[in-house]
Amino acid sequence: MHELSIAMAVLETVAAAAARAGASRVLSIRLRVGELTTVDPAALQFAYAAATGDHPLFAGSQLQVEWVRVRIDCPTCGEGPALPRTVACAACGSPLTRVLAGEELDVDDVEVERHAKAAADSAKGAVEKR
């Protein structure tokens, strides 16, 4: 169940980016997960919910997982899909291919919200408003 470790790493990455951008809340995270990573999307969702449970920055946020199929470059057939869960060319069966996609485990982007106050502060300078 390394999905929990992965969820924690996602939170760490996103929290750092959110802090840099002055965000007060994370609404959604887009993650790309390749077929060859052996990361289970359902387990990852479960782990994400558990990891964000009492974290105000992530309250109500969504993890959107884009599942990336393997794509290969075959010396005989050129670019194309692979046989399921392999790097073998779907057209000719040869495993002697170059993998173009399917090994991703990347945070793509994140949708954040800034407090009205923080947004106003940064727009007008740090003027205290009640």
Binding site: A9, A17, L36, E113
Partner: protein
């Protein structure tokens, strides 16, 4: 006002950076690092016991061994006389680069040539975590399914060598080594394959010789 921030970062970039730092350290010091992975019970500790016995007087070895609980494996591995450190993960199903960096100085003397890391028995999670190794070797025993490389492509894809263990039991199960190798090469075409039995010693010397050649090639080039 919602706003989209581009991130474009690997999820495990922190682990990868630490692994890269370890890899630079081993390069500078002329140390070869081996990461041994498999399901629980495939024979990692037994193969390493046999390997370490044969490396006595040939190479300076240090050993890290990961388990969820107990120091049993460290005790078994210490019999060959090399320094061994048990990493008890307390439930975490893999070793990561931080754990290696934290514990490695206990076994890495100045004359270290080979660092062996016996990972937690698990064919899924350890695949995602780079430990800074030069070589990842995956074990598959003849009492497991020969389609495991197809079921766990991540691990076999990232392994450089496959050691089929418990060959003395061939014929007692439906395991077909040729089929296992074929499945494995569907995800890793250049996989180097050995077949061994720790009980009969079949194939062990060939594996140890190959490993020694890999190690000395690196240590020699580092000393030049």
């Amino acid at each position: 006002m919602p706003k989209r921030l581009p991130i474009q970062q690997k999820v495990l970039s922190k682990n990868d950076e630490l692994a890269a730092a370890l890899r630079r350290r081993w390069q500078e010091q002329g140390v070869f690092c081996l990461n041994v992975v498999s399901s629980p019970g495939s024979g990692k500790t037994t193969l390493l016991q046999e390997t370490l016995q044969r490396l006595r007087g040939r190479l300076q070895v240090g050993v890290l061994v990961g388990d969820l609980q107990t120091e049993n494996d460290a005790r078994r591995l210490a019999a060959a006389g090399f320094p061994v450190r048990q990493i008890i993960t307390g439930g975490v199903c893999h070793l990561d680069a931080t754990m290696v960096a934290t514990h490695v100085d206990a076994v890495a003397g100045p004359d270290l040539e080979l660092l062996v890391i016996e990972n937690v028995g698990n064919l899924v999670c350890p695949a995602s975590y780079d430990l800074g190794e030069d070589l990842k070797v995956v074990l598959l025993s003849t009492v497991e399914g020969d389609d495991k490389p197809a079921k766990y492509p991540g691990m076999f894809r990232r392994s450089d060598a496959l050691v089929i263990t418990k060959t003395d039991l061939l014929g007692l199960s439906d395991f077909d080594p040729a089929r296992a190798i074929q499945h494995a090469r569907q995800v890793r075409p250049d996989l180097v394959v050995f077949a061994v039995s720790a009980r009969t010693s079949e194939g062990i010397d060939a594996w140890v010789q190959w490993l020694t050649d890999q190690v000395t090639a690196k240590t020699r080039s580092a000393r030049r």
